[in-house]
């Protein structure tokens, strides 16, 4: 049998016997119902575990350590699917949890945020059990589509991906390449707006001084960074963030019209560039206004 190659951009591949009686829009009505006795949802997200972290670690970092400041929270829609796109940094990136916490704390209609992570984590013991519990899902196009279109939830993506967290301190706040525009395709297909977001402070809180290729191979991790507290304080040293002041800014959503087609590669690339340019511009702007790394 010929082996289909899965590209990151395509959700579907045609099988030989697939005949469908129903268009995919009608399937929305057949989503499984919520079982109130359950404490996990179908993605493996656990109220209990998430709540525990939210009230302890995340609360501490958000309120007292990073003293996060939020602008433009009204740009996050209070209903319907939306794709949040942000810059990414830090060895164990604090930006995702801070964005999720910001929406939970500041938004008039707090909503859970689904954070997309690399497939790598599903295969690494420990991460594999923990990450889904606190609201992380694998960055598979089909997952993003189901969340945005069928379940109408908020999804956070980091188009820079690993290239963002790998980059060294000297390259801080310089956005890497935005993948192949897959996130724009996903949003367009789901007819969900894109909400760009900028995070300032994460780069200084977890500076990466070097990457050690050999240790990366030995531990089987995605990368093996040298930070102020890692590896000499062990894995908990990953949480040894410096108390930089966090500033989060949500930009105006980018909506898509009916006529826009996700199959139009040129359009997809144009929008991806535009999103990247807007985040970069706003980052420069926020950095220019910042007087101190630690006090804002």
């Amino acid at each position: 049998m010929a082996e289909p190659v899965r590209t990151t951009l395509s959700v579907r591949e045609r099988g030989p016997t697939v005949g469908s009686l129903v268009p995919s829009d009608a399937l929305k009505d057949h989503l499984p119902g919520v079982e109130p006795e359950r404490r996990l949802n179908d993605w493996g997200r656990s109220e209990r575990v998430e709540g525990f972290f939210d009230q302890t670690l995340v609360e501490f970092f958000y309120r007292y350590w990073f003293r996060a400041e939020v602008e433009g929270i009204e740009n996050v829609p209070s209903s319907g699917g939306a794709l949040l796109v942000s810059n990414h940094s830090g060895a164990l990136p604090p930006d995702a949890t801070m964005l999720a916490k910001a929406i939970r704390e500041e938004h008039p209609h707090p909503r859970p945020l689904n954070i997309t992570v690399e497939h790598f984590f599903k295969g690494y013991p420990g991460f594999s059990a923990l990450l889904p519990k606190i609201g992380c899902v694998a960055a598979h196009p089909a997952n993003v589509h189901r969340l945005l279109h069928d379940e109408e939830q908020l999804v956070l993506v980091f188009p820079e991906g690993r290239k963002g967290t790998e980059k060294l301190y000297k390259d801080r706040y310089r956005l890497r390449r935005f993948g192949r525009g897959g996130f724009v395709e996903a949003a367009m297909r789901a007819q969900a707006p894109i909400v760009p977001a900028c995070v300032v402070g994460a780069e200084e809180s977890a500076p990466v001084f070097a990457q050690v290729g050999l240790l990366k191979r030995v531990t089987g991790l995605l990368y093996f960074p040298i930070t102020p507290t890692f590896p000499h304080f062990g894995f908990l040293g990953m949480l040894g963030y410096l108390p930089a002041k966090f500033k989060l800014r949500f930009l105006e959503p980018i909506e898509f019209g009916e006529g826009d087609s996700y199959e139009d590669k040129a359009l997809v690339q144009t929008i991806a560039h535009e999103v990247r340019a807007r985040i970069q511009e706003n980052l420069w702007d926020m950095l220019a206004k910042r007087r101190s790394v630690w006090f804002g």
Partner: protein, 521 residues
């Protein structure tokens, strides 16, 4: 439950009336045959397998065939089967050796499809029971597989390879026979009271074994939903591939919680295979395909079959809870129910003997399983009501109700008896007709032979031309089928057949068989 738009199931315009179930001795085959024979519009249920049925059947007939189902075509044609339900796929490598599983899954499926295909085949619908093992379990899987997705990597375990191959031949069959309805149902892990799977074995342990650092997502389907789903595919027109799995995807730790058991992360994340081999020594067998599932888990999108009109009776969570109840109850009630054993002579006597009387009175006494269940439910309901305050009226009503039910059952039984009579008459008619046809054919053959002989005499030059096919479609027949035909042929025809065989296929077995028939005179 969210609002489920009620969609009318589409009844098949061309009803399934004569149904062949493969894998009759498997739990699914037996259960499905039981369900199908209860429908009055179903004329015939024929079950084939190489082992004897494990459940009691009322009018379904059992035909013993080889594991490869090589002679199935003749059964299909003789009984004019219009629907074939294939339930015999092995999806658990603990149940049999991998070579036997391959023989059954790949070669068996191929032969069954060969028996159903072709322009002159009476089969119009094929329902195939497959498994979500088709998708495999890998690191870069989507959280929910839908039917249009293919697995991201080639299959690694033998069972998964078999399933992919079997489905490929189904796809080919559907392409070649566009007029046939082909339904493939991919079932998630099955849980239930009567079914045995390696996952149920794992859950029966004092603690649920897990791989350290992993909490995979699992989706289950209750055993009742499995055969309801097969039944739905038989009674409605649902072409295509469908996932069948209960609503809700559970984490394995959640499953352990629902079963009321602790979970034991006894398998190390690295060197899991070695640890599993050690566990096998102490009697805990984890098949390779379940190993991947214990690591990465799997969820499927079950909405398409719901949209095709199917309603689940259990969610994944409810299936697990049911299993938990059964496990607590099992040690108490074990052995209370007698197991059914198939006895050929008894079954044949009951079906065919002219001395078996299916009169209304004797049948009314023997209520069918469902009717008894209904009655019991009714009585129980009446009993519950009594708890609040015993009222004579309720009990009277219940009694009346049960009496009415019994009456209905009696009426139904009479009807069934009548139908049986009618069927017998029909069969007799058909037999006469068939005999007449055979006579006609024989006469024609004789005429043909005479004509051929005279033509041969007239035109000696044409002697060079190859002998005609002595039997229609002779070239398509397998050696065994030819040999089976020999006894019915005339001497001259046998000679012609011998010449023809020598000229064409020249199969030593066939020729020696013809010679032996000729020698016997």
């Amino acid at each position: 439950m969210t609002a489920v738009r009620k969609q009318p199931a589409r009844p098949d315009a061309r009803d399934s009336r004569r149904i062949l179930v493969t894998g009759l001795s498997t739990y699914w085959g037996g259960r499905l045959a039981q369900a199908l024979e209860a429908f009055p519009e179903v004329e015939a249920v024929i079950g084939v397998d190489n082992e004897e049925p494990s459940v009691e059947l009322e009018r379904a007939e059992y035909v013993k065939v080889g594991a490869q189902h090589a002679l199935l075509r003749r059964v299909v044609e003789a009984a004019e089967i219009d629907t074939v339900v294939d339930t015999r796929l092995v999806v658990d490598s603990n149940t049999t050796s991998s070579s036997k599983a391959h023989e059954n899954n790949v070669i068996g499926t191929m032969n069954i499809l060969a028996a159903c295909g072709g322009p002159d085949s009476p089969v119009r619908k094929v329902v195939f029971k497959s498994s979500t093992h088709y998708y495999g379990c890998e690191q870069d899987d989507p959280a929910f597989f839908d039917e249009t997705m293919r697995r991201p990597h080639p299959p690694r375990t033998p069972i998964e390879r078999d399933i992919v191959e079997a489905e490929a031949s189904l796809g080919e069959f559907a392409e070649r026979n566009p007029e046939a309805t082909v339904t493939v149902l991919r079932f998630a892990n099955v849980l239930g009271r009567d079914v045995r799977t390696s996952h149920i074995d794992l859950f029966s342990l004092p603690a649920v074994p897990m791989i350290l650092g992993f909490d995979p997502r699992y989706q289950f389907v209750h055993e009742d939903d499995v055969f309801h789903a097969l039944e739905h595919a038989v009674r409605n027109r649902t072409p295509g591939v469908f996932n069948v799995a209960g609503d809700g995807v559970l984490a394995l730790s959640e499953v352990a919680g629902l079963l009321g058991k602790p979970y034991a992360p006894v398998l190390p994340p690295w060197g899991t295979g070695i640890a599993a081999a050690a566990l096998r020594r102490v009697g805990v067998r984890i098949p390779p395909e379940a190993m991947n599932q214990l690591r990465y888990g799997r969820g499927v999108d079950n909405r398409r079959y719901k949209a095709a009109g199917f309603h689940y009776t259990h969610t994944s969570r409810e299936a697990v809870l049911k299993l938990g109840e059964h496990m607590r109850l099992h040690p108490v009630v074990r052995g209370a129910k007698e197991r059914y054993t198939y006895e050929r002579e008894v079954e044949e006597f009951l079906r065919w003997s002219p001395h078996v009387r299916r009169s209304g009175s004797s049948q009314a006494a023997a209520l069918s399983r469902d009717q008894i269940a209904d009655l019991q439910r009714l009585l129980a309901a009446a009993g519950n009501e009594d708890d609040g305050g015993p009222s004579e009226e309720d009990r009277l009503a219940a009694a009346e109700e049960s009496a009415r039910q019994a009456e209905q059952a009696a009426a139904k039984a009479t009807e069934r008896a009548k139908k049986a009579e009618r069927r017998a008459a029909e069969a007799a008619l058909k037999a006469t007709e068939r005999a007449k046809k055979a006579e006609r054919r024989a006469r024609q053959a004789a005429e043909d032979a005479v004509e051929r002989a005279s033509r041969a005499a007239q035109v000696p030059a044409q002697q060079e031309s190859p002998p005609r096919q002595p039997v229609d479609h002779y070239d398509e027949l397998a050696a065994e089928e030819v040999i089976a035909l020999l006894a019915s042929l005339e001497r001259n025809d046998l000679g012609a057949l011998r010449d023809y065989e020598r000229e064409h296929a020249n199969r030593a077995r066939v020729i020696s068989a013809i010679d032996s028939v000729l020698a016997r005179g």
